[in-house]
């Protein structure tokens, strides 16, 4: 059995960790006990003798996503449906896979033929689901027969801690999640090129990156409108790079992410807010969303 982890540097609030650790342990145990087949079955199915269990965590569009993934036999649709019918649950054969997978969270539900010393009582997943939804989180299952099962828990970025870089544009301070920041520099004016009707690009290490002026995106009165006077921060997400143009860098700090949605609504380009040392509020830039829509920057409707 191989155990692989990704995103070990992702940080969470301590309280959240305490609450997530039990459900997570259960999911890992489940994957090992139910998910991964016996070595004989694996060899027969043409897979490596040792199963692989992957535990990953990362920021994803304003959420923290934790995934427990195995390369085992996958969930057995027929078996789950048969069992559900026996238990008198309202099911039909035409149910979409996603709904069938949700059945395993029902109380007392287990398709295991034998109850082992670690699992098979059908109690666990019910409790897992209850604990997780009590935190306001979403749990989602993806499974392919013979390929494996992935269970992902999506935590809203309310209690998360983030390493942030604070930048200033005009009078406003914004936080950029440090994980997206590659470098920051002051470009020479010769490196900034205009592309007719499509904004500007900046040449960084023989690479042309789209220039995203933060003041334009958020409608701020900037100190500088010429990139060679301010600073550009090179951001990278999903393999896509862009240069975010700001007035100045303020510093680097750890921030506690607060949710905007709990009292307000989702704001395009903003993933959350945080409280600064002086008691003021600063908004956290949703870098992934900015980069996704960087090509349509001229389309003002994205931001309004």
């Amino acid at each position: 059995m191989d155990f692989v982890t990704h995103g070990a540097a992702t940080e969470l609030d301590k309280g959240l960790i305490e609450r997530i650790v039990d459900p997570l342990t259960h999911l890992v145990r489940n994957s090992i006990d139910h998910g991964v087949e016996t070595p004989e079955m694996r060899i027969a199915a043409g897979k490596a003798e040792f199963g692989t269990l992957t535990l990953s965590a990362g920021h994803h569009g304003g959420n923290i996503v934790i995934e427990v993934s195995d390369d085992g036999g996958g969930l057995n649709r027929e078996k789950i449906l048969t069992k559900a019918k026996q238990q008198g649950l309202a099911v039909s054969d035409a149910m979409p896979d996603a709904d069938v997978w949700q059945l395993i969270f029902a109380p007392g539900f287990s398709t295991a033929e034998i109850v082992t010393d670690v699992s098979g009582r059908g109690v666990g997943m019910d409790v897992v689901k209850r604990n997780i939804t009590a935190m306001g989180d979403v749990i989602d299952i993806r499974s392919g027969k013979g390929v494996g099962t992935t269970i992902s828990i999506s935590l809203p970025l309310t209690l998360a801690i983030l390493d942030g870089m604070s930048v200033k544009v005009g009078e406003e301070i914004y936080i950029l999640p440090l994980g997206y920041v590659v470098e920051s520099l002051q470009p020479k004016s010769i490196d900034v090129k205009e592309i007719s009707g499509q904004g500007r690009v900046v040449k960084v290490r023989e690479e042309y990156l789209p220039l995203l002026p933060l003041y334009q995106i958020f409608g701020i009165e900037p100190c500088f409108s010429n990139p060679s006077e301010g600073i550009v921060v090179i951001l990278e997400s999903d393999g896509k790079k862009a240069a975010l143009f700001v007035d100045e860098l303020v510093g680097q700090q750890q921030v506690v992410v607060k949710n905007l949605v709990s009292n307000y609504r989702k704001v395009a380009g903003i993933s959350g807010a945080t409280i600064l040392g002086d008691g003021g509020v600063s908004l956290i830039v949703d870098v992934a969303a900015l980069l996704r829509s960087s090509r349509q920057l001229n389309d003002e409707s994205i931001y309004s």
Binding site: E172, K258, Y264
Partner: protein, 169 residues
């Protein structure tokens, strides 16, 4: 005997509640006096610097830190075109708690809490005022004063205010 006394007390409190009416917090916007259900009000504060939210309507001033929670601030004077939106030490923010959500509302001033009996509340006439009649409970009269009683729950959760994300959107 004791039994009768107890039931008498119960009767008194009951009838008290019936005739006591409802308490409203009175505030002014421009030259108009408004009233909202006092039970929706969490606290009243001065206006402090807000953090602007990009690309939001101009009546949403931004967000503030209220003891660790992020609260949006709405300026009713801008929203309803009433009075001059000035921000000084006299500007008042009424912090409302509506269905578990906390919202701050900037008004010109807060005067007092008044109790209105059922018969003092008249239905609002249909007219093209700043506020849609749908958001009004009615008009409250107390001596020479007339208060426009606002159904603040309905107003703040309306699509017009855009404070709460539409599920469909």
């Amino acid at each position: 005997m004791t039994q009768t006394a107890e039931s008498n007390i119960a009767m008194v409190t009951n009838s008290d509640r019936d005739t006591a009416g409802q308490e409203f917090l009175a505030f002014t916007l421009g030259s108009e006096e408004y009233g909202i259900d006092i039970l929706k009000v969490q606290e009243i504060r001065g206006y402090e610097a807000v953090t602007r939210i990009a690309n939001s309507p101009d009546f949403i001033k931004g967000v503030v830190n209220l003891r660790g929670i992020i609260v949006p601030i709405v300026d009713m004077r801008i929203k309803f075109n009433l009075g001059e939106p000035t921000y000084d030490q006299f500007t008042v923010v009424i912090i409302l708690n509506i269905a578990g959500r906390v919202v701050g509302m900037v008004v010109d001033s807060v005067s007092d809490v008044i109790t209105l009996l059922q018969e003092q509340v008249k239905p609002a006439p249909e007219m093209g005022g700043a506020l849609n009649t749908d958001y009004l409970i009615g008009l409250g009269t107390l001596d020479q004063r007339m208060l426009i009683l606002v159904d603040i729950d309905k107003l703040m959760s309306s699509a017009e205010m855009g404070l709460i994300e539409n599920i469909a959107a």
